[in-house]
């Protein structure tokens, strides 16, 4: 990858690398993470990077510097880090410090207190709801930053028939037409079923956006914009964050701590279920609209030099 001058190949290799990482996460029992990495790394990141290449240039200049100094720096840092790992706990050691503090509580009490089998969702949305609120806000802020930098182009009325960026590929059109409803349906399943199986708002938002991005890529410019108009997206994103925060405010008004979902219903476990569902919905809406907005911003920009 370092010697390649063709950035297109670099980006595609990075997509393959992401897919391999997802397989590795699967092997390490992190199903939710593998899911996210496969959708984000292999799907969305690759498309966004390719859109950037379209706006900049595909070919890289030959390097101007000698690689010796960076190699020395990297070797010294790497050697120091390897030396530091010699005292670290072994892979899979159940007595490692990481498994001692709060993790046993999450594993043993999670299914009882929050009442959902997927412990990752329980920790994400309930125990560490503050963190997740913060992360959702970071995504929101990053999306706003991209919109400030690039802006979303308003689609002009097309006098000529629309052409897809990849040309008119009949096989792709037919296959994608069959796939898109399944992708969108699957995203909804992942959104709602996140309490019981792998999945949740983050993955669902990304998968839903992927479906529309695929539609746009294969069926031509601005097709997705007819389904989800660009001006909706910033509003949808704020709506998601507001929904998340609103759940917190409701529990605050009921005299409980911020984001304590037990306040939402008479039965604490029932309240947890409702809270997690609403919060995940907020996350899903925000992630979906921000990812799609970023795609619109990058793909809709005209090439200028």
């Amino acid at each position: 990858m370092i010697r390649l001058r063709d950035l297109f190949a670099v980006v595609i290799l990075f997509g393959i690398y992401s897919l391999m990482t997802a397989a590795l996460f699967m092997d390490l029992d992190a199903v939710d993470v593998a899911f996210t990495e496969a959708a984000v790394g292999a799907g969305i990141t690759t498309v966004l990077m390719l859109s950037t290449l379209r706006l900049t240039s595909r070919w890289e200049n030959s390097p101007a510097h000698s690689p010796v100094l960076p190699l020395v720096v990297v070797s010294i840092t790497g050697a120091a880090l390897i030396y530091a790992t010699l005292d670290a706990p072994l892979l899979g050691d159940p007595a490692a410090p990481a498994h001692q503090h709060v993790a046993p509580r999450y594993i043993q009490q999670g299914p009882v207190e929050v009442g959902m089998p997927n412990m990752v969702t329980a920790v994400l949305a309930s125990y560490r709801g503050y963190d997740t609120f913060g992360e959702t806000f970071v995504i929101f802020t990053a999306g706003i930053a991209v919109l400030l930098l690039l802006g979303i182009r308003q689609p002009q009325p097309h006098p000529r028939p629309r052409r897809a960026a990849i040309g008119d590929q009949i096989v792709l059109r037919v296959v994608v037409k069959l796939l898109i409803p399944l992708i969108l349906l699957y995203a909804l399943y992942v959104q709602i079923h996140g309490d019981y199986g792998a999945g949740g708002g983050f993955q669902a938002g990304v998968i839903f956006a992927t479906g529309l991005v695929l539609y746009d890529l294969v069926f031509g410019e601005d097709c997705a914009r007819l389904v989800v108009p660009a001006p909706w997206l910033p509003r949808l994103a704020s709506l998601g964050v507001l929904l998340y925060g609103g759940v917190g405010i409701v529990s605050l008004l009921s005299g409980r701590p911020f984001l304590d979902y037990s306040a939402l219903s008479h039965d604490p476990v029932h309240g947890q279920h409702m809270g997690v569902l609403l919060v995940e919905l907020g996350v899903g809406i925000t992630v979906f609209s921000i990812i799609l907005a970023i795609y619109y911003a990058l793909s809709g920009r005209k090439v200028r030099v």
Partner: protein, 134 residues
């Protein structure tokens, strides 16, 4: 020393981290730098997820027949970090697009040369104006 093979997950992390770091500091192309940064990022993901692995454990989804689960906490942290990662990477990509529009290049040395050229011509224009005032 017999326990050393059990540390290989850290070494994979260190290798990937250094590979990403090398790309960031040695390559001049801004898009390539961002790819390097993303590889650096995945090395941290792999570190966290491998820390959460328990030998003989299962995915942390409750089932009455399973007794050993892997640690769900790193999974939560990394799951959100991946999505935050793509959002922040896109901010970087947007900046690269704007830099290309302003400078006509995404190569670090060309951008620096252009900046320097602009500064020098500004300085010259400034000194000429001073001379005129005199």
């Amino acid at each position: 020393m017999s326990e050393l093979p059990g540390l290989y997950n850290y070494w994979v992390t260190v290798f990937l981290m250094m590979a990403g770091f090398y790309v960031v500091i040695s390559q001049g192309n801004l898009v390539k730098k961002l790819v390097g940064l993303a590889i650096f990022q995945t090395s941290v993901f792999i570190l966290y997820i491998s820390l959460g692995k328990v030998a003989g454990g299962n995915a942390p989804i409750f089932d009455a027949t399973i007794t050993v689960y892997s640690n769900p906490l790193p999974h939560v942290l990394i799951l959100t970090a991946i999505v935050v990662g793509v959002a922040t990477t896109s901010v970087g990509l947007a900046l690269v697009v704007r830099i290309h529009e302003a400078y006509g290049s995404v190569e670090e040395d060309e951008i620096q040369a252009k900046d320097q050229h602009d500064e020098e011509s500004q300085w010259e224009a400034g000194s000429e104006r001073q001379a005129d005032d005199r």
